[in-house]
Subunit: 217 residues, 2 copies
């Protein structure tokens, strides 16, 4: 499958590497073509992938993973290009973290809006599925890293896209269908993004980013 | 133990009733002394408690449980009186939910501040422990209602107060010490209050408010 990863940070690296290992045709996009971070990643996967600017990546990918820094996601997607993203599933992973005022970060948008919604509004013909934003990237690609069942919460306006993403997360990373909770339309991004305020503090207290929540009934 | 419950809503009722059943000397406070909701509750516990205005309740209680409507908590606590709350532990349960603009509610304060912090700032000599705000009141008083272990997240500036609250939650309701996570100082209220945006949507999707999260490592 032709997959575009937007973003050369930790999340893009983890997802990109795993997808290359699975034999997919992966391109990693960045603000500038041939960025140092992109070249480093390409080297780390033995050259078995491509790198390019955001628009090249979005054009190449049949499915697009937004692993950008949340504060820059909209700018990155604009550069990727509305036409190149049209009709495609965008797995929207980034969180609108504002680290400019110190730690712990606050959110650049929350409560009455969310990054997921901002992106879906600006790219109405892209099938945005907010997913994976509630966990560390090591857990994203290997849910079995944690002991026992735990849940992933996704949302989006396009039901078929959510079904497809649920299947892909199973196929790619081993996420069990019964551990993926559909929280509703894209406005539910407010819930999963605002959870970051809790997640970040739990990270501090637990001393590891390798954790997740299980919904107990 | 002399316990003050501030608020006559669903949470105040559930906690008050359980504490009366345990044989504690409970007073339920409301904005006006002898409120209808207060009288109804008093009748429901067979008259084995007291009711009064917020200030009477705060004066009587050796420990105070804030079960008010979050949008009115500060006003209620002002009426309870700073002097009457001085030196006491305040288990601060309410969330700053704004239901005035329809469902799902938003928060009246979040991201860079929280209700827990607002209260601790305004009542610096009260030992505020934010607790129980991440679960439905039926689960608060009976954690065994859910199948399997699940976690309660508390925070506050006063370590001794948190230790005491942890012990009381075990004694009163059966919360196991190992399932109570201390998230740090009162600013961590931002995390547990912002989690409500997720909790409310999970309630809708799960079709029941009787759930909680377990932290899986």
């Amino acid at each position: 499958m032709k997959i575009a990863i937007l973003g050369t940070g930790m999340v893009g690296n983890a997802l990109g590497t795993k997808l290359v290992q699975l034999g997919h045709d992966v391109i990693m996009g960045s603000r500038t073509a041939g960025s140092e971070a992109g070249r480093d990643w390409l080297k780390s996967v033995g050259g078995k992938a491509r790198i390019g600017a955001f628009d090249e990546a979005a054009t190449f990918g049949k499915i697009v993973l937004d692993c950008t820094n949340g504060a820059n996601s909209l700018a990155a997607l604009r550069q990727a290009g509305e036409a190149n993203l049209r009709g495609k599933i965008l797995i929207q992973i980034s969180n609108p973290l504002d680290t400019s005022k110190g730690m712990p970060p606050t959110l650049t948008v929350c409560n009455t809006d969310s990054l997921g919604e901002q992106i879906q509004r600006e790219f109405p013909e892209t099938r945005v599925v907010k997913a994976l934003n509630t966990i560390n990237c090591a857990v994203m690609v290997e849910p079995s890293l944690l002991s026992g069942d735990h849940d992933l919460i996704i949302c989006g306006d396009d039901a078929a896209a959510k079904t497809q993403v649920t299947a892909l997360l199973g196929e790619w990373f081993g996420w069990k269908k019964e551990n993926i909770i559909d929280l509703g339309n894209i406005s539910a991004s407010r819930g999963t993004e605002m959870y970051l305020a809790l997640w970040i503090r739990l990270w501090g207290v637990l001393g590891t980013p390798h954790f997740n929540i299980k919904i107990v009934r």
